[in-house]
């Protein structure tokens, strides 16, 4: 909104500060001035305002002048108009309010023998500085008064009216051509100003085409009214019409302003000739007056002001004399009801003030927020962390150390992705007003977001990637939505930092499995395993490669799935390198406590390393071998490790060679040769029973 400093000063004869000082003072009191532009000699400045929606009273020159008067404690010039005496009316225009719940007040004044001419003088000059379009003296007069005191009015060509004024709800399907030339079809929730035959104007929003002021207009009916804010807002929205009038009515106009507004408008129109006919008609709905201009006083306590605001910078609370001065300057009437309390009657233009706290805010505002002290409150409570804060922090720390970078991706996904990546079918949440059709669902998984981030990087020639995201995923339907925390890992490219002197290795399933094991090792679990299912199984997510992915289970609960991206997904995303991805249920993982390190005694006796070289059929998996070794129950066997796995051309196909390393150590003694021989025998026998063939005879080991 634009404000002229010269116009403001016309209401503030004693204002002694510069336009820039005034702008700063207003801004610090919440009447924000975004810019001050010099308009040249004698023209003052143009102030670009940003008034918060609750302060409709300050969306005009007089309202801002009132704020300045309160800030500087200077007088505000009263607004007075003396209109010429009216000629008696042959036939007064009847006014009927048929929707009293929507129209609280309607005033009308009739002007005859007017001249519709271009505006001159002060109006033309101020409009030119404001770059406001000039239309005609009658229309400009209504706009001028809106800018002056903030109350919208309307001028009808009285000769186009058929009978008196009726303020009523529109008929369903009723047509009305508005001033902008468009024809609108109305609904009964629209309020119209009508005559006996037809709708004339969309009340509080825009006037009608048919009764608009033209150069031929000789008789005018000036409307100044008060319309229900909600009704005006709905009509304005419904018809996509945001006007200066609707902007003010929908925020709550001044119930007492219509009489003054009408007088100001008529005074301006009559400057070009004409006369008033008949009495000023003023219909007031008392019920609405009681809710606006006639509200009961609010009680205000000095102790409450101090309790909420605390001390000012000089170490004292605000004193009662200052409180009284601020409230009076804002237009409130105050009456002392006790040594420390007041009954405050609110001005009709401040519908935003309704409670004691509103008055306290006004006092703080006018005093200036920065004139209050900076204090720190004492506190007796304790500080608690979120129960999972340490676990999240462990995951982040471990992943970052392993080279994984944290990302944050979109909360939304497409319908296709929602269905593909949903963990329970049909449990996906659609948005009612998505940003676009491609992002119409809440993500049921972090996988689609991760895939699109991997693609984003690969498309930019960044090929070695290790990314993770922690965030909420959504299941449910429009009745109920569940959110749970999830973790996704995505990786592709080389596994180690490239260097001129070292050979590169591609990131593999085992790299991903390794970091999963590392993460799990941070938590207390009684049992943990990974398994896989056949392609036909619905237990595995469809986005994972059936033969190259695993499920993670801890203490009987599935914690997640990970592995190579399924070939069809890889193709549809046009990936040219193998993608590894895994998603984990953090709600389940976080049920496990973080593992506390426990130190064990280090043996003072030497460890003995023994390597076993065997050939196994492909069907024998490492897990079986490991379990077999464990079942031997040799407490001195402290580690077993597949040292090397390779295909030996000399061995039959469908088999692989395994170099197994076993380490033995005792806490209480140096191991004897006989013991080691005995264990080697046991291991040989067990591995052969599994289907293994020794590549070297046992004797070579002994």
């Amino acid at each position: 909104m634009k404000i002229l400093s010269t116009w403001l000063r016309s209401y503030l004869p004693n204002l002694a500060v510069s336009d820039h000082q005034l702008a700063d003072a207003l801004t610090l009191r919440g009447i924000a001035v975004d810019g001050v532009f010099d308009l040249g000699p004698g023209n003052g400045s143009l102030l670009e305002m940003d008034i918060t929606t609750n302060r409709v009273d300050a969306m005009n020159h007089y309202g801002i002048a009132r704020e300045a008067a309160a800030i500087y404690d200077i007088p505000l010039k009263p607004l007075e108009v003396s209109l010429p005496a009216a000629k008696p009316a042959k036939q007064p225009v009847p006014i009927r309010i048929e929707a009293p719940e929507l129209c609280g007040r309607f005033t009308a004044r009739v002007l005859r023998d007017v001249n519709i001419v271009p505006s001159t003088g002060q109006i033309a000059q101020r409009f030119s500085l404001l770059e406001q379009k000039l239309i005609s003296n009658a229309v400009d007069a209504t706009n001028f008064v809106t800018m002056a005191i903030g109350h919208p009015t309307h001028a009808f060509d009285l000769d186009k009216l058929e009978g008196g004024i009726v303020v009523r709800r529109a008929h369903a399907g009723e047509k009305l051509r508005l001033l902008d030339g468009t024809e609108r079809t109305l609904v009964p929730d629209d309020l119209v100003v009508a005559d006996e035959k037809k709708a004339l104007a969309l009340a509080g929003v825009m006037g009608g085409w048919e009764t608009m002021i033209t150069p031929a207009t000789k008789s005018i009916l000036v409307e100044a009214a008060w319309f229900d804010p909600g009704t005006v807002r709905r009509s304005s929205r419904r018809h996509g019409l945001h006007t200066d009038a609707s902007h003010r009515f929908e925020r709550g106009a001044d119930f007492n302003a219509p009489a003054l507004a009408s007088a100001l408008v008529c005074d301006l129109i009559l400057m070009a000739g004409g006369s008033i006919e008949g009495d000023f008609v003023d219909v007031v709905i008392l019920e609405l007056a009681a809710r606006t201009s006639q509200r009961p006083p609010i009680s205000l306590h000095i102790s409450e002001i101090t309790r909420i605001l605390g001390k000012t910078a000089d170490g004292q609370p605000i004193d009662p004399a200052t409180v009284e001065r601020y409230l009076t300057a804002l237009g409130a009437r105050i009456e002392k009801t006790s040594a420390e309390s007041y009954a405050v009657t609110l001005p009709s233009w401040r519908l935003d003030l309704a409670q004691e706290i509103d008055l306290i805010e006004e006092i703080a505002r006018l005093h200036g927020y920065n004139r209050f002290a900076n204090t720190l409150p004492s506190f007796s409570g304790g500080v608690t962390e979120l129960p999972w804060a340490g676990k999240e922090s462990f995951l982040r720390r471990t992943l970052r150390a392993a080279g994984y970078t944290e990302t944050i991706s979109s909360t939304f996904c497409s319908s296709a992705d929602a269905n593909l990546f949903a963990q329970q079918s049909n449990s996906i949440v659609q948005l009612g007003n998505p940003l676009s059709e491609e992002v119409g669902f809440l993500r049921p998984s972090l996988v689609p977001g991760m895939l699109s981030m991997l693609a984003h990087n690969l498309n930019r020639e960044v090929d070695d990637l290790r990314l993770f995201e922690m965030g909420a995923i959504f299941t449910g339907n429009s009745e109920r939505v569940q959110e749970k925390p999830s973790l996704v890992l995505g990786a592709t490219g080389t596994a180690i930092t490239p260097h001129a002197l070292s050979s590169l290795r591609d990131y593999s399933f085992y790299d991903l499995k390794g970091i999963v094991e590392e993460l799990l090792a941070g938590f207390v679990t009684k049992s943990m395993y990974m398994d896989a299912f056949h392609a036909s199984s619905t237990l595995m997510p469809p986005w994972l490669h059936p033969g190259r992915a695993a499920r993670l289970v801890a203490d009987g609960e599935t914690l997640g799935f990970f592995g190579e991206l399924a070939p069809q997904e890889s193709q549809s995303s046009k990936f040219r390198q193998t993608i590894f991805i895994g998603e984990f249920n953090l709600a389940r993982l976080f049920q496990h406590a973080l593992r506390q390190p426990v130190a064990r005694e280090l043996s003072r006796f030497p460890a003995v390393v023994r390597d076993f070289s065997f050939t196994f059929p492909d069907a024998v998996r490492w897990q079986q071998i490991a379990e077999t070794l464990t079942s031997l129950d040799i407490s001195e066997m402290c580690s077993t490790e597949p040292r090397e796995i390779f295909r030996d051309k000399k061995e039959p196909s469908g088999s692989y060679a395994l170099l197994l390393r076993v380490v033995f150590q005792a806490q209480d003694r140096t191991l004897r040769l006989e013991e080691l021989q005995e264990w080697a025998h046991q291991i040989f026998a067990a591995l052969m029973e599994l289907g293994g063939h020794p590549r070297f005879p046992l004797e070579l080991l002994l």
């Binding site: 001390k311 706290i357 970078t405 940003l435």
Partner: protein
């Protein structure tokens, strides 16, 4: 290279000077030609240029001591030439060291090192943790809440009137098919972290000091400074005798912790339905210190957060579940700040979209 006597300078006449320096230059040239290994070179360097016992220093000490004033300039020039000759010999030599002088197992130590790949912390997570830490030190606990909220928690209980523009689908993303439900039960994506204020107060009586980090969504078109997804940190302090000056002091202290002790704060009246009085807070520009620069649009101030005293109407909403929230007995303040904006300012990020792109070229800068 055994140490030799300081040569005797017969006179400071130019003839004698030239002859003396030619002799020295010949010495240098002869020795330089014999350099084979890096040890040789170091010996040569020490012999001539050693800080205390270097021959150049010893000779110049003696010759300069007795030099008449008019000869000093010429003498200095000669010494400089000689020094240059020695340094050139050293440099040239480092390029032509005989291969036989390098140990067989020497490696090229000038190749780049193998730097372990470290993952990067996301700038938003980093900023969020920085903000949380400041408030934790002031006695604040951490709370969180759901991203899908009901209209009740996101709007109604925060004192938004039923027709408030923020409730419009132009501003708020909503879950599909909610029209049949009562307004307060309709599901939407929270537009701010403030609903967690209500959830926290419903769960526990005062005193409360809590900070709430989280992701929020609005139906905004994306541009360099707007994203439909962004992050906030909310704060709430409720107790007996919490005042507006406590709010000011708390935020002033927090901003100094976050941005440095020179930072000043400035409070402006603002309007939020759930606080009263409400304020916007500006900090003195962290780039120019308040003098005015491009970053602060030459105002010297940067707008950073919104705050205010908890509106008594909000306490009335939670009083049903927690009677201790009697607005006549307790009071409190709340504040909220945009994490994205603060991160962009702190780290000089020009496009908010980068934060949500997963682009490694951007993220690796934070490793």
């Amino acid at each position: 290279m055994s140490s030799s006597q300081i040569p005797v300078l017969e006179s400071y006449g130019s003839e004698h000077l030239d002859a003396a320096f030619q002799a020295l230059q010949a010495d240098v040239a002869r020795q330089a030609a014999e350099l084979r290994t890096s040890e040789d070179r170091e010996q040569f360097r020490l012999y001539w240029l050693g800080r205390k016992q270097g021959r150049l220093k010893l000779i110049s000490d003696v010759w300069l001591k007795n030099a008449p004033a008019e000869a000093r300039k010429s003498l200095g020039q000669h010494f400089n030439q000689l020094k240059q000759q020695i340094e050139q010999a050293l440099e040239a030599d480092s390029e032509t060291l005989a291969p036989s002088s390098v140990p067989a197992d020497a490696i090229d130590i000038t190749l780049p090192g193998i730097r372990p790949t470290l993952g990067a912390e996301h700038p938003l997570i980093r900023t969020m943790h920085e903000i949380i830490r400041v408030f934790e030190h002031m006695g604040y606990s951490v709370g969180v809440g759901p991203e899908v909220e009901t209209d009740y928690y996101n709007f109604e209980a925060l004192n938004f009137p039923p027709n408030h523009p923020a409730r419009d689908t132009q501003d708020t993303l909503v879950v599909a098919n909610q029209q049949h439900k009562p307004l307060r039960d309709r599901l939407l994506l929270r537009t701010h972290t403030s609903p967690v204020q209500i959830r926290t107060m419903e769960r526990q009586p005062p005193p409360i000091r809590i900070v709430i980090p989280g992701k929020v969504h609005r139906n905004d078109a994306a541009d360099a400074t707007h994203s439909p997804i962004f992050h906030q940190v909310e704060g709430l302090c409720v107790d007996e005798n919490i005042t507006f000056s406590d709010l000011k002091g708390t935020l002033d202290h927090a901003m100094k912790q976050l941005f440095g002790s020179n930072v000043r704060t400035r409070f402006f009246p603002s309007f939020f339905p759930f606080t009263e009085p409400s304020a916007d807070v500006q900090i003195s520009c962290i780039f120019c210190g308040g003098k005015g620069c491009r970053k602060c649009k030459h105002s010297g101030w940067i707008e950073l957060l919104g705050c205010g005293m908890v509106n008594p109407a909000v306490f009335e909403f939670v009083r049903g579940k927690q009677p201790a929230y009697d607005p006549k007995k307790i009071s409190g303040f709340a504040f909220g700040m945009g994490v994205d904006r603060i991160a962009m300012m702190k780290y000089g990020i020009s496009d908010i979209g980068l934060l949500y792109s997963g682009d490694m070229r951007f993220l690796e800068q934070f490793a």
